[in-house]
Subunit: 401 residues, 2 copies
């Protein structure tokens, strides 16, 4: 294992691995100077034409192993297709590099455990995940309200996040998209890792999941594009998580009922609405000697404006964690939970059964490998977008009200 910190003075030398849409956006972001004390010193893509657009003063690699061993970088950003987050992440950590990985951290739980184990072997390295929606002030505030006990015990959660509309054209761009072999899933693995991470961040992990996933309901794809998941927590709280890439205009509405009332966040621009009970519901329910009485609720508006720093915020935090030891906004080890939730939803749907958490990682890996092995889906890749620049900010609901 190499030495963990080998920055040049006060600058982190970053290698970006995978220079498709997202990786290119990160390179541009750092080049723009938006991330103090960070410098791109190397890029890597298996397709060299994808790196032609870069004119910066850095080395170009077509093999991540060479970049990792080049001595040119202190830290990497992994923005490859999902499966490689695990393999490249492990290689980078075991070679003494800090890692920031795109979401999901892995495709399935067994891989996520392998990746997290590599970090456990190299605990001094910074290991961050691009859960940029953690920078949305709304979610952070709801999390704090719950952790502070302001809302009392959470009793019910309903998150409708159907605001991930995708055209068939989107799926036809790139042969890895929306395949078991290429992504290991659909909306749960590509779009929803954000919300699944936020979900477990705010509410913790449920004890059971029963989900219903429709395969290619709205698109010609072999993976899920429509999901309804029911969750039960050890506390007795229930949750529903609904997502799809087929609906327009979609909904992004999070409702959280607790003993002190109900919080609703629509969209991500804020504010947070809270109908706050003056008397805790459980106490009122048990003690009020009237048939039709209801606790008085105050209409509270909690300020939480704006979209947060998003990718820039996570990149800055990554650099500050490396140089100054500040805590991470999104430690990648926690990214295992979003993977587990996605896997459990798919597994429940495929088996037609309720899945108890923690999920058996080996069982799910076998299931997924079988799906890959048995896949007969012929992808029609109609559009060559390999050299096309796409504005990735449009891919995220984080920027929209």
């Amino acid at each position: 294992m190499k030495k963990a910190t080998k920055t040049i003075g006060n600058t982190v030398r970053i290698g970006v691995i995978g220079t498709g849409n997202m990786g290119s956006a990160h390179v541009r972001n750092i080049e723009s100077g938006a991330i103090p004390r960070a410098k791109v010193t190397a890029v890597c893509d298996i397709d060299p034409t994808k790196m032609e657009k870069f004119s910066g003063d850095y080395r170009k690699f077509t093999d991540s192993r060479e970049l990792i061993r080049s001595g040119e970088v202190d830290a990497v950003i992994i923005a490859t297709p999902h499966y490689f987050h695990t393999t490249i992440g492990i290689d980078a950590l075991d070679n003494g590099l800090h890692v920031l990985t795109e979401k999901p951290i892995s495709v399935h739980k067994a891989d996520a455990e392998r990746l997290v184990a590599a970090h456990r072997r190299n605990p001094k390295l910074v290991f961050s995940a691009m859960f940029n929606q953690r920078t949305n002030p709304q979610y952070a505030k709801i999390r704090k309200i719950i952790q502070d006990g302001e809302l009392g015990e959470v009793t019910r959660i309903n998150w409708i996040i159907t605001d991930w509309f995708r055209t068939q054209y989107y799926y036809d761009c790139g042969d890895w998209r929306a395949t078991w072999g290429g992504e290991g899933g659909g909306v749960l693995l590509n779009q929803c890792p954000h919300q699944l991470d936020l979900f477990q961040w705010m509410f913790g992990m449920p004890a059971q999941i029963r989900a219903f996933c429709d395969i290619g309901r709205f698109h010609n794809i072999e993976v899920e594009d429509n999901v309804t998941a029911y969750m039960k927590f050890a506390s007795g709280a229930t949750g529903v998580f609904i997502t799809t890439t087929g609906e327009a205009p979609g909904t992004n509405r999070l409702e959280v009922a607790g003993d002190r009332g109900k919080i609703v966040l629509e969209g991500t621009g804020g504010p947070i609405k809270w109908l706050r009970n003056t008397v805790p519901t459980a106490e009122f329910r048990a003690k009020m000697p009237e048939m039709w009485a209801r606790p008085e609720a105050w209409d509270v508006t909690i300020p939480a404006a704006g979209g947060g720093e998003q990718h820039t915020g996570i990149l800055k935090n990554y650099v500050n964690a490396i140089l100054d030891g500040v805590p991470l906004i999104a430690p990648a080890d926690e990214g295992l939970n979003a993977v587990e939730l996605a896997n459990a939803m798919l597994y429940s749907s495929f088996t037609g059964k309720t899945v108890d958490l923690p999920l058996d990682p080996a069982a799910y890996e076998r299931h997924l490998k079988k799906l890959i092995r048995n896949s007969t889906f012929k992808k029609a890749v109609n559009h060559d977008t390999s050299a096309k620049e796409v504005d990735m900010t449009a891919s995220s609901t984080a920027f929209k009200k």
Copy 2:
């Protein structure tokens, strides 16, 4: 079978059977003159003290069979505990009386089929159900929007109707409440028949139901007070129905996604909000050659104000159907669907399996009878409200925004 129509001139002589809270409200409503051409000529309750409050010029019975055979009435209103809706309804229909029954029309599907069969034997009799929320202009308008094809094919429904808060005191009033033997269920049989009826009225019946019911989660009762139900339609549409009597302040929010956008109704006061796609979603999804494009949606506000005529509207319609042959707002035969939905949700939860509709009525009846037989729940009836008048309008969300 007696002659179906035997009104005195132009007035319907009505017997109200069951003079608890709801039945008494109907007597008062008719006595007030709000229902033209209707007259209460008889009342019936097994507990004669419940009829002491009535000073009107009508016969009092303690046996519904005597009222039905008395020759004093052309029509009955049945407002007894649920199980008797079936037995008294059949007796009334088979003795030539028109019937308006409180909801649910029966406790379980087999009983509902028996009741509907009695109407089929006596097809000229008017057989109506007290689904007063069908008079809410909002639901009628959403139904029409869907039936007219304005919204296109419905793809997803989400109804959170947790606005049925009840105190423990409520459940402790009356020994039949919230027991398998007395009500045959909890929130699904007592509070939600309204929404279950509206659901099938607007969207039709699903093909499958998987539901999760919590028994006595928020109250000391032996039946369900917290429900999450997933539904799948033959069309592929999915639905979620969430209800509880434990939450405050609750939610009443109906969201319907279709090929032409999304309709949202919050509360029941209106208006209806519609984000209307200028291009159908399916067409846009399939044909738009762009990765991130979304169909343009117009923000449409559909006027539908007020709470409708509610109980008065259903009572007037009952009389007009008897005297003038006008169509019923809520034919009781259709009430079978709400019973079937409630039963299927409970059955799915108890068996831990997805229930295919139509539900096997005999299987569910056996299941319910077993629950009744095996019940060991000791109800603590702490409060004598037998002589207490209660304002039933407070029991319905129909009157609240």
